[in-house]
Amino acid sequence: MSASAPDVSAVSVNGISLEKLPEDLYIPPDALKVFLESFEGPLDLLLYLIRKQNLDIFSVQITDITRQYMGYIEIMKHCRFELAAEYLLMAAWLAEIKSRMLLPVAPKVEADEEDPRVVLMARLREYARYKKVTERMDALSRMERENFPTFLAHRHLSTQQPEPTVTLDQLLRAMQSVLQKTSRLSHHHIRRERLSVREKMASILATLKGGRFYEFCGLFVVTEGREGVVVTFLALLELSRESLIDIVQAGHLEPLSVRVRSGNV
């Protein structure tokens, strides 16, 4: 990356004027995207600059940093915004530190405040620790690179057993024998006639024919069992709902009586 040289003679670091710009400090705009992607963030970039140039970031002219980062803003329009945003934040932080250093120090206030330079250095140091340990972790022997576990692929073998072949003829014969068996067994099944509410309603109406009162309990056929009782009860309710019968009681605690409603006889 070569610097598209601005007025080089004007550049000085720590009072020593430089022959040419430090190559890594000035990033040509078109190379920015590639350049930023090779770093893991502004801390990584700053760490690189410090190490590569032995750069004391606090003696860099604030105007240089600002100018460079203002250039970045222009390119950001064409770049991935989220990538550059973090670098901008760092630039703003550096500018803040720098401008604070330019202000005259009020000793009493200074005592309470943490030196922002110390904060930045602590963050750089913390990041450098993990960067170092990441290199060490990357050097560990790991699966798919140095470690290949061995095992016998026993499951794979078992799935290679040939599937038995079945012809249509065999299938039909098997089906026939099943059908034969079921036909032989079928007459042993005792099928219970399902009691129908409608059917019961008809039989009740037949019983009540003539318009006489009939005892409520007498309509139930005990031999039909629990299901029969339920069906009879439902039939009576249904008949009552359809206004075909009257359910009456002569007095309190007297037995219930049923008769066909007049007009339906």
């Binding site: 893991e40 963030g41 502004p42 801390l43 990584d44 760490l47 410090i50 190490r51 032995n54 750069l55 004391d56 970031i57 606090f58 989220e82 973090e86 760092m90 030196d115 330079r117 110390v118 250095m121 602590a122 963050r123 750089l124 140091r125 913390e126 990041y127 450098a128 620790r129 993990y130 960067k131 170092k132 340990v133 990441t134 060490r136 972790m137 990357d138 050097a139 560990l140 022997s141 790991r142 699966m143 798919e144 690179r145 140095e146 470690n147 290949f148 576990p149 061995t150 095992f151 016998l152 026993h154």
Partner: protein, 183 residues
Amino acid sequence: MSNLKSVIEVLLLASECPLSEKKITDILEVEQHAVRQLLSELQNDCRQRGVELIEVASGYRFQVRKAMAPWIQKMTEEKPPRYSRALLETLALIAYRQPVTRGEIELVRGVKVSSNLLNTMQDRGWVCILGHKESPGRPAMYGTTPEFLDYFNLKSLTNLPELPDPEVIRLSVNDPVVLTTES
């Protein structure tokens, strides 16, 4: 006893994942110390062979000796997967600082941690959510799994490479940013 050793050998070979001492003991229905003895015998038996029996977080597994790895790579004609620095740095932060939230990782790295990255690590089974921090937003706290240790050939987190102390970190050759006025 030698028969049992062969049984342990085939169990280890037939298992796709590492087998723990406990699991082997349960299958064989013998004393655990006997299993331990036989495992160490098996390790010795492999001395002259291309495979070795090693212990990782989830248990014991047979694996190709490191020196033989290039031959395996040549056979499979596959390049080992490369992991991005972003992934490895994030993984290191989770491993060394667990339980750690995404925000805490971002603070150290100075960049956003993408959800994609965390999903990849969770899909690989290296990282899991340990719980949620009782702070605004209840952020998830991440930690590493035994599978992570297995992958990196480690028995426990204490076997991870040493994390350098902040004091020994030199930011540059002269470390000019160390503020001498502070001392």
